[in-house]
């Protein structure tokens, strides 16, 4: 049984449905990320787990104990550590007092309390700053206080709501790895909310992608990247070329699909689709820019080979990025090496059928 089980959770604010009957499981010791665009219900889901929102329907089971179905369990009784987006460190308490607040409530002996505080202060790299007030700390340090405060009581569950979104890009990247290794070392089951896909890819064991109150896909970062469940996921995570078309033929034994697109009569997609398709259906043949191969001369014996004209070309340091027009359809291409062709010149694109997928 999973450590956190979210069953049929439904939460609305007046007419706005924030969380629409979602099912979610978080395994023990796992870091699960809720990823999705602004307003899709990530924070609301997290707050339901913390007990800061009361959902209308469904149940949340933490470590075998139902939080809703057998009477509402108050946030203070859930054994949770939480890091808020705006840090929420208490401005009238020094760093040390902020951190031992929860321990004090548990009436832990002074000596033990002090040891725990020192441990966690060291862990997050704050030792020496105990006697400062939060206003005397930088944003990154305040965030560490918030993290230390959430971790110090050895919570069963750690919840993080966009903990890095208020920090500058460099610090954000640094702290991502720090949080990940810290949480992993402590083995705390955690739920992390972000709308930053790169952050989600780095930090998560598994990602749950949300869209307008629904969980649309759950999987490891790799699974989600390689096998997005639909167009929304594919677009949200990484970049994807979507070529609108119509299914002309489905090869039953291999699940390969032929699609008629605007620029070709037959395009082969071999990556098995999550949803079954039938001839005549409108779909998107899709391929990631880095999966497109380019040739100056047409190689022999390849399907899905199309001639195009370079519309735009840009070096982005370590790779080359360009837009190729194939009979008017723009295809984004990314290659890790230089090419002699300039804008306006022609080349051949190989849309490898093994990498082409059908999305709805």
């Amino acid at each position: 049984m999973a450590f956190i089980e979210i069953r049929n959770l439904f939460k609305r604010f007046k007419k706005v449905v924030a969380v629409n009957h979602i099912e979610l499981e978080v395994n023990e010791g796992e870091m699960l990320t809720l990823l999705g665009p602004s307003g899709c219900g990530k924070t609301t889901t997290l707050r339901c787990i913390a007990g800061l929102e009361k959902p209308e329907e469904g149940d949340i089971v933490i470590d075998g104990k139902p939080m809703l179905s057998q009477g509402f369990v108050e946030p203070s009784k859930r054994g949770i550590g939480m890091v808020f987006q705006n840090y929420a460190v208490w401005p009238h308490m020094k760093v040390y007092k902020n951190i031992i607040y929860g321990l004090k409530l548990q009436r832990i002996p002074k000596q033990e309390m002090h040891e725990k505080a020192q441990q966690v202060l060291e862990l997050v790299g704050l030792d020496g700053l105990e006697e400062r007030y939060p206003v005397q700390l930088s944003g990154g340090q305040q965030q560490r206080v918030a993290l230390a405060r959430a971790l110090v009581g050895n919570p069963k569950v750690l919840l993080l709501d966009e903990p890095l979104s208020n920090l500058d890009a460099k610090l954000r990247e640094e702290l991502r790895f720090e949080i990940k290794s810290l949480v992993r070392r402590m083995g705390i089951t955690s739920v992390y909310v972000t709308h930053d896909q790169a952050e989600a890819m780095v930090i998560s064991d598994r990602i749950a992608v949300m869209d307008s109150g629904n969980v649309v896909q759950i999987g490891t970062p790799l699974e989600i990247y390689d096998k997005p469940a639909n167009r929304f996921v594919a677009d949200f995570i990484g970049t994807m070329n979507f070529m609108a078309g119509e299914v002309v033929q489905v090869l039953q034994d291999t699940e390969a699909v032929y699609v008629r697109t605007e620029f070709s009569e037959k395009m082969l997609c071999k990556t098995p689709s999550i949803t079954a398709t039938t001839p005549g259906e409108e779909v998107y043949a899709s391929i990631r820019p880095e999966d497109v191969e380019v040739f100056a001369e047409p190689p022999q014996g390849k399907e899905n080979l199309f001639k195009g004209t370079i519309a735009h070309k840009a070096y982005l340091g370590n790779f080359l990025y360009f837009f190729v027009s194939v009979n008017g359809t723009m295809i984004r291409v990314q290659v890790p090496h230089h090419l002699p062709q300039e804008e306006g010149q022609e080349l051949y694109l190989f849309l490898n059928p093994e990498k082409c997928m059908i999305l709805l």
Partner: protein
């Protein structure tokens, strides 16, 4: 600028001149300076000052005891019926002081089931009721400045709602609440429109005393002295407020705080 300054400063100047003189009516400036007016107040009617403080303080205690929790329930919880409570309290704004005074006088008359009008406590009660919406506004304004996630962080850390209120909300709201409390006291201290209907012999407050002096005629100097006294007391309270918003602020937010 000058116009506004005139409107404000004319009051203490005129009252001051009248309070420290004898029979200043016809001349442009008083000629006969004296402390007689103040001596009369302190000797003959110290009860007025005592009553004023007593009623206002008790009104304040009612306010802190009932007004603040009610305001908290309305602003920060989802308690059923809080909208109705909000409406009822806010409705108080619609009633002029006279209406409060007259209706309490009749509603709590000797012959009614609750003959409160017979006890001096009615004075404090009326002062409290009249300014009840003020507590709501005060709490509302303070809470708007207090980030709710500070309270939520405390709850998640294991503190219940009540502990969170005392550990987090109250210290952070203290400045706003203290300022509001002193303001409330000032308003209660100066209130006359309600009190003038409810008072009986021996319950007169300073404003009522002023009104009576004026009414009896030819007691202008004494009335002015009482008004002057009220201004001085109020001014001291205002000084306290400014000290609070300077001093307690630091205590609540730490050195170098906002």
């Amino acid at each position: 600028m000058i116009f506004i300054a005139t409107l404000v400063l004319l009051i203490p100047v005129v009252l001051g001149l009248a309070a420290f003189s004898r029979r200043w009516v016809l001349e442009p400036f008083p000629t006969d300076w004296t402390l007689e007016n103040f001596r009369l107040i302190l000797l003959e009617s110290p009860g007025l000052i005592k009553n004023s403080f007593k009623f206002s303080l008790i009104a304040l205690l009612f306010g802190i005891g009932f007004g603040l929790p009610a305001a908290y329930l309305i602003v920060r919880t989802r308690m059923p019926g809080r909208d109705a409570l909000d409406f009822v309290i806010t409705l108080m704004l619609a009633f002029p002081g006279i209406a409060v005074g007259v209706s309490y006088l009749l509603g709590f008359w000797k012959t009614t089931p609750i003959p409160l009008a017979d006890s001096w406590i009615i004075m404090a009660l009326a002062l409290f009721a009249r300014r009840l919406p003020y507590f709501l506004r005060m709490a509302h304004a303070s809470y708007l400045q207090l980030d709710i996630s500070l309270e939520e962080a405390s709850e998640v850390s294991g503190a219940g709602k009540i502990r969170t209120f005392f550990n987090i909300s109250l210290p952070l709201l203290l400045k706003g609440v203290l300022v509001g409390v002193v303001m409330f006291f000032i308003m209660a201290f100066q209130e006359i429109s309600t009190a003038v209907f409810l008072y009986q012999g021996g319950w007169e407050t300073l404003p009522i005393g002023i009104y009576l002096d004026w009414h009896r005629g030819m007691e202008f100097g004494i009335a002015a002295a009482k008004a002057f006294l009220m201004i001085v007391i109020t001014f001291i309270l205002l000084l306290i407020i400014s000290r609070i918003s300077g001093g307690v602020l630091k205590a609540a937010w730490g050195p170098g705080g906002t």
